[in-house]
Symmetry: C2
Subunit: 124 residues, 2 copies
């Protein structure tokens, strides 16, 4: 079994999801040990929601699941990188492909991506 | 000034460094507000070391600084993505280009990248 270091983050480690084909960084979320085990077992990205304090099977509501193609672990065993196929081509609940749709420009944030879907239509 | 949400992580936010040219995810580290401000001011990635409890100007010892080409912020304003030019072509203190040089294969981790430098030569 792969041993990860959950201690430093009080039971959680950050997990980066990256588009397997384009290399685009889609999002960062957190995993506890159960989420990591579920991800391994199911091949679908499962995170731990810090706001809901519960396992979060990505795409359960939106259908935008992430099929995990590869998992990398960093040199300290305290961060994982998931290379995923993003179903629906959008990872962000705000309708963008990537959660990183805002760029720092001078002293402000500027949206530099286009929406793939309308959140009101997907989360009814 | 760009306002980020440092509260959820007790004063720290995760910062992903990605190779500006290839899209490779190089590492994940943490920033406090001062590290983020320093990064903006200097154009070089500055993190906060959780083990040393101090600002960490990436590359100060090794020379492997990261020139920041672009900064993205995620939809919750609690994670940043730095697109960087990695000097020395290696971000990891273990000598690899990326800290994510290990892949989950079955129940084990397997090193799937090659070393760029010998840490003993760089950190004397």
């Amino acid at each position: 079994m792969v041993k990860l270091d959950y201690k430093k983050g009080n039971g959680l480690i950050p997990a980066i999801a990256q588009d397997d084909k384009t290399g685009e960084v889609l999002m960062l979320a957190y995993m506890n040990e159960q989420a990591f085990t579920e991800t391994l077992k199911t091949g679908k990205a499962t995170y731990y929601s810090r706001s809901r304090n519960a396992l979060w099977k990505k795409g359960e509501t939106s259908g935008h699941v992430q099929n995990v193609k590869e998992i990398r672990v960093d040199c300290d065993n305290d961060t994982v990188l998931l290379k995923v196929e993003q179903i629906g081509n959008a990872a962000c609940h705000k309708g963008y492909k990537s959660c990183f749709f805002s760029k720092v420009v001078g002293n402000d944030l500027k949206i530099v991506e286009s929406k793939i879907f309308d959140p009101k239509e997907v989360y009814k």
